[in-house]
């Protein structure tokens, strides 16, 4: 210790500290990790099994159930799932359904964001009579999801002749209390002075919205986009109800439809293809979450403006 000077004492002892004691096993850490690993396995094993199963032919799956190993039908199944025309009318393949799902997911997410932002803009920045009441009315619609009001909604859409159209598929789902609520909270945290500065700078309501508010909200928009896209992508009940034309089928629906259409006949249901389609259906939401993840966290937690 003689050569350690006054000034270096602190850093020297700190540097020495990690090597000194033999590593002790921290049982809490082991326990934590065991729980996390178990949870992760619980989530991932089914996904893996679907993936593995998608590489087998239908007969094997029918006989032996889901598979853990990989078979040799990988290319065949995915090719069939994506490009083979099927369905009752032979007018739909995997690519069509992928496109339809994409349109539904994007239309749903973008529509909800636009409507939610504009509603929040009106509630937060304009002196409206009953603004609070309007907000709470929007908020209570959270208690009335589509499934509850599905019959009247169906009634309205068919009356408007919007059955079997993208409009009918997307528009009734667009009004969003969740997005309105999140954007409202976000807008309220933007400092008052910014609005005043913009007013003095000659930005009217529309300019302020587009030039200031939208760019400031971009992390929030990204977060909303992820949530809403995945939500829209996974819609099942409403598309089932409103589209009978097979060219408008979405992937989520198609998975069932494949099994259904074969099961109606006397053939073995093509489980391999269905599994492949399930994997295809899972991929875009996963990719979106992976790519937007950092924005997502920022949007929901960051308050630095």
């Amino acid at each position: 210790m003689a050569d350690i000077t006054e000034t270096s004492t602190g850093s020297a002892t700190q540097a020495a500290a990690p090597t000194r004691p033999a590593k002790r096993i921290k049982w809490e850490a082991v326990g934590d990790h065991a729980i996390l690993i178990a949870g992760a396995l619980l989530m991932l094993v089914p996904v893996y099994m679907v993936f593995a199963t998608s590489s087998w032919d239908a007969i094997t799956i029918h006989r032996q159930g889901m598979q853990f190993g990989f078979g040799d039908q990988f290319g065949v199944n995915y090719d069939a799932a994506l490009f083979e025309y099927g369905g009752f009318t032979d007018s739909v393949n995997g690519m069509t359904m992928l496109a339809n799902s994409m349109i539904l997911g994007l239309g749903f997410a973008i529509g909800k964001i636009i409507v939610g932002m504009m509603a929040a803009y009106a509630i937060v920045y304009f002196r409206l009579k009953f603004a609070t009441l309007a907000f709470w009315m929007i908020f209570t619609t959270l208690l009335l999801p589509l499934e509850v009001r599905i019959l009247p909604s169906y009634e309205v859409i068919t009356w408007m002749n919007l059955g079997n159209t993208y409009t009918g598929l997307i528009v009734p789902l667009i009004a969003s209390a969740t997005a309105t609520f999140f954007f409202r909270q976000y807008f309220r945290s933007i400092p008052e002075e910014l609005i005043e500065a913009a007013r003095i700078d000659g930005a009217g309501p529309v300019k302020f919205f587009i030039d200031i508010l939208v760019p400031l909200s971009k992390t929030m928009i990204a977060a909303m986009f992820i949530i809403m896209f995945v939500f829209g992508w996974n819609q099942y009940l409403w598309p089932t109800l409103i589209t009978t034309d097979e060219s408008l089928f979405t992937l989520v629906r198609g998975i069932r439809q494949i099994i259904q259409s074969y099961a109606d006949g006397s053939e073995t249901p093509d489980y391999g293809q269905a599994a492949a389609l399930a994997i295809i259906a899972m991929t875009p939401p996963v990719l979106i979450v992976v790519f937007f993840q950092s924005w997502f966290v920022k949007g929901l937690t960051e308050s630095d403006k």
Partner: protein
């Protein structure tokens, strides 16, 4: 360039609170007028009414020869600098400064030229492509100034622009803002609660208290002839000593029983308040006032002695080279340094 006139301007908020009593004054062209007062005195309300961010309940505001009551803030040809700068966080410095001009539909070349010119004036040229979050507090303040300058407004409005800066930077920016305003010759209204800022920057000071104008005058007038006990105690650090006293037969006697020299009562009789600034009295063996010292505060350049005169709290500022005093001393008062106020309203006699 324009003068600003407020004619019986009054502000009552929807909940019935009167933020500003009817106020009338004129700010001459090219002058910097400071609105000063404690928080809640109505100074910010007044500024925001001139900016057009608050409605006017009664009265008329004119900028130049135009009544602006019903004119949109953007069309008043004003520029405002906010306390927290209010820069657009997602825009570069350049776009922050040019945004107002872009909205006015100026050609790009002219916007660029004006922004470059302002940036040079404020030494911001190398930061033009940065975002506000990448700048220090002082630099952000400059960008906010730049945004005001590029508009070539008739009137600058400053809403406590320096209160987010540290003390050293504040002193520096104070001088810069003053110099800039002088150079551009633009009329300016400046709101602050800091009396030092008010004294050092203003051509003219308006002292406000509880929604009422207490006094309008040059820094010198305000300091030398405060119109009320409020102004007397608000302007000046350390504040003026205010003592209870009584006038009889042309002489003023403190309530504790000492005769005040240099007091010109002008025929007033009865109770009054005597005001003496701490720097207007000096220890001297033949002084008229007896002073008991309790505490000595060392300020470096000077020394503050806190104690009592005739049993009432009293402070004295002495230069640093005078020796720290004993427990009791005599004080002499400078000629003309005794201010007298009435007891009820606190107005100057």
């Amino acid at each position: 360039m324009a003068q600003v006139t407020l004619d019986k301007v009054r502000k009552v908020y929807p909940n019935g609170a009167e933020a500003l009593e009817p106020s009338t004054f004129t700010i001459p062209d090219g002058e910097l007028t400071v609105l000063v007062g404690p928080s809640g005195c109505g100074k910010s309300t007044m500024l925001r009414m001139v900016a057009g961010l608050e409605t006017v309940t009664e009265g008329e505001i004119s900028i130049g020869d135009r009544v602006v009551n019903d004119i949109d803030p953007a069309d008043r040809n004003i520029a405002m600098v906010f306390q927290n700068y209010a820069l657009y966080p997602h825009m570069t410095v350049e776009r922050n400064m040019g945004y107002g001009l872009k909205n006015r539909g100026l050609p790009k070349s002219e916007i660029n030229e004006r922004v470059r010119e302002a940036a040079e004036m404020l030494e911001l040229t190398e930061f033009l492509t940065r975002r506000p979050s990448q700048l220090s507090g002082g630099q952000r303040q400059r960008v906010a100034m730049g945004r005001a300058i590029v508009r070539k407004p008739d009137l600058f409005l400053f809403d406590e622009p320096l209160s987010n800066l540290d003390a050293k930077l504040r002193n520096q920016m104070r001088i810069e803002i003053r110099a800039l305003q002088r150079r551009l010759g633009t009329t300016a209204m400046y709101v602050t609660h800091d009396q030092v800022e008010a004294m050092t920057m203003a051509d003219r000071i308006i002292v406000l208290n509880t929604g009422k104008i207490e006094q309008i005058g040059t820094p010198n007038e305000i300091y030398e002839h405060p119109a009320s006990t409020f102004v007397a105690s608000f302007m000046g650090a350390p504040p003026m000593n205010l003592l209870d006293g009584e006038a009889a037969q042309g002489r003023v006697t403190l309530t504790g029983g000492q005769v005040v020299p240099e007091a010109h009562v002008n025929g007033h009789a009865g109770g009054l308040i005597v005001g003496i600034r701490p720097e207007d009295v000096q220890p001297s063996p033949e002084g008229e006032l007896g002073f008991d010292v309790d505490i000595v505060e060392e300020l470096g350049a000077q020394r503050l002695l806190h104690g009592r005169v005739a049993g009432q709290a009293f402070s004295v500022a002495v230069p640093k080279d005078k020796a720290a005093a004993a427990d009791t001393m005599r004080l002499s008062v400078k000629p003309g340094a005794v201010h007298l106020f009435d007891t009820d309203a606190g107005r100057r006699l």
